[in-house]
Point group: C2
Chain length 239, copies 2
DNA sequence: TAGATTGTTAATCGATTAACAATC
DNA sequence: TAGATTGTTAATCGATTAACAATC
C-alpha cells in the first residue's frame, strides 16, 4: 500500500495536504499558512494592475474591495512577512509589489520544462501568459517516438528519458506534468532526477516526490466533478 | 469598486471563497464543507480503480492508505451524506461508487461548452480524459473572426456572440472559459445568458456570476507562483 | 489635534482528529 | 463471543475575524 510521503503544498481541493514548514529564507521568519500564500499571489496580480493604473498608495480596505477578501485578512496575511504599510496612510503600491515579488521569489526568471507533448502540454508550451512573466518554458519532452524530434513553437520535442541529462544544460527548476495518469509517476521521477525544485502536475493522479520538492496539482476532472455537485444546489438570487 | 457577489465554490487557493449552503436536493440533507466535496471526487477516482481491480469490499483504513487521507476523515466525509458502510465489514465498493456518483450528480451526462478557441480551449476540446466520462464537449466559441467557422476536432468554432441562442440547441449546462483575462467577464456573461449552471474559469482574473451559478477557477499562474514561494523553503528529506 | 489606517492580540468559527459506543 | 470496523460526539487544531492600541 503506497502512502504519501512527498511534499504537497496547498489545500486538499488542490489535491494536496500536509503543508510543510517553510525553512530558513530571509523573507520568511514565520510560517505563513498556505491559504495566505495563495492570496499573496492574488494580491500581486492586483498590485500589478494598480501600478498600471498609476495608483501610488492603497489602503487594505480599498485593496479588499478589489480582491474580494476582507481588509483584516490582507493585513494579517502581510503581517506574516513584515510591516509594509504606514498607519493612517496605507501601502505604497510600488514598494509592496516589489516586496511581495521578492517574497514569492518572482524577482528572478524560472525555467520550466514540460513532460508530455499532448494537447495540454503543447497548449502550455505556447501559453501567452508566460511572456513578460518570470516563467519561461525551456523544454518539452515526450516518450512517444512519433512526437520526439517534432518542432513545437520554438522548441524541439525531446525524449523524456534524456530529461535528467538534458536538464544539466536547460537548468529548469520547475517541471509541469501533462502526461496521461499512468505515466505521471514516471514523469515525476524523471523531473526529480533532473533536479527541478517544484512540480505542477496536471495528470489526474496522485504522484509522490521527495519532501523537499514542492508539488501542486491541477485537476480538471476534480474541478468539474465538484462543480457538478453544486449544480442545482445553489440558492437562487435574492431577486 | 466592484465587489464580489457571485457564487464561488471552493477554497481561496482555487480562487474562490464564500461556500454557499447547498439547497434541497435528495442527497444533501446536511451541508458538507467544500473540502469534503473535493475529497469525494478523489474517493470516486479511487473507487473506480478498486472496481477495476475486482475489490468487492474496502475499509476506511485501506481506502485511507490509498488516498493519503485519514480513515476518520473519510468516514466523516461520507457521514454528511448517509451511512454507507457496515461496522466490522467496511464498504461495498460497487455500492459506495454508485451512491457517490449519484451524490456528485455524475450519473448523467453533462454537456460542456468552451468559450475561447486558443491553445488551451483547443486542448480542452480534445481532452481524451472526457471519453467515457460524464462530460462531453458539445461546442466551442470564439469572437475572433479568423477562428470562427474553422473546424476543431469534430466541432466547428462558432461566434461567441451567438452562444445564448445556440445553446438552446446545444443544451450545455457547464461552460469553460479559456479566453484572455480582459474577455473573461464578457464570456461569463454570455455563458450565464446561455443558461449554464456551472462555470470553470481558466482566465487569470476574477469573474462575477449570479449566486445560483457554480463557479470555480483554475489559475495556472497562481499555482506556479505559490510553487515558487516554496522553492528552497521545503525541508530536505530526513535522509 | 482629529481622522485614517496599520499591525497585533484575543475571540470566533470551521474543519480535522481522537475517543468510543454501536454493530456486524 | 471476540475482532474488526463503522458512525458520531467531543476535543483539538488552525485559520479567519473582531477589537483595539499604536501611529501617521
Amino acid at each position: 500500500m503506497k502512502e504519501f510521503t512527498g511534499a504537497r503544498v496547498g489545500c486538499f481541493c488542490c489535491l494536496a495536504t500536509g503543508v510543510p514548514e517553510p525553512v530558513a529564507l530571509p523573507e520568511s521568519s514565520g510560517k505563513a499558512p498556505e491559504p495566505t500564500l495563495s492570496r499573496l499571489s492574488f494580491y500581486l496580480r492586483s498590485l500589478r494592475r494598480l501600478v498600471k493604473e498609476g495608483v501610488k498608495t492603497i489602503s487594505s480596505a480599498k485593496m479588499a474591495g478589489r480582491c474580494g477578501v476582507s481588509a483584516v485578512q490582507i493585513r494579517k496575511d502581510l503581517s506574516y512577512f513584515g510591516e509594509f504599510g504606514r498607519p493612517g496612510i496605507g501601502y505604497d503600491v510600488q514598494h509592496l509589489l516589489a516586496r511581495l515579488t521578492e517574497i514569492m521569489q518572482l524577482d528572478h526568471q524560472h525555467r520550466v520544462v514540460i513532460v508530455g507533448a499532448g494537447n495540454l502540454g503543447s497548449a502550455l508550451a505556447g501559453y501567452s501568459g508566460f511572456v513578460l512573466s518570470p516563467f519561461q518554458v525551456v523544454g518539452i519532452f515526450d516518450n512517444n517516438f512519433s512526437k520526439i524530434g517534432r518542432r513545437l513553437w520554438d522548441l524541439e520535442i525531446l525524449d523524456a528519458h534524456h530529461l535528467p541529462e538534458v536538464n544539466r544544460e536547460l537548468r529548469a527548476n520547475i517541471g509541469m506534468i501533462t502526461v496521461p495518469a499512468d505515466a505521471a509517476q514516471e514523469a515525476a521521477d524523471l523531473l526529480v532526477k533532473a533536479g527541478v525544485r517544484a512540480i505542477l502536475n496536471f495528470a489526474p493522479v496522485m504522484i509522490v516526490v521527495p519532501p523537499d520538492i514542492a508539488l501542486r496539482n491541477v485537476d480538471l476532472t476534480r474541478e468539474l466533478e465538484v462543480l457538478c455537485y453544486y449544480i442545482n444546489r445553489l440558492p437562487a438570487p435574492p431577486e
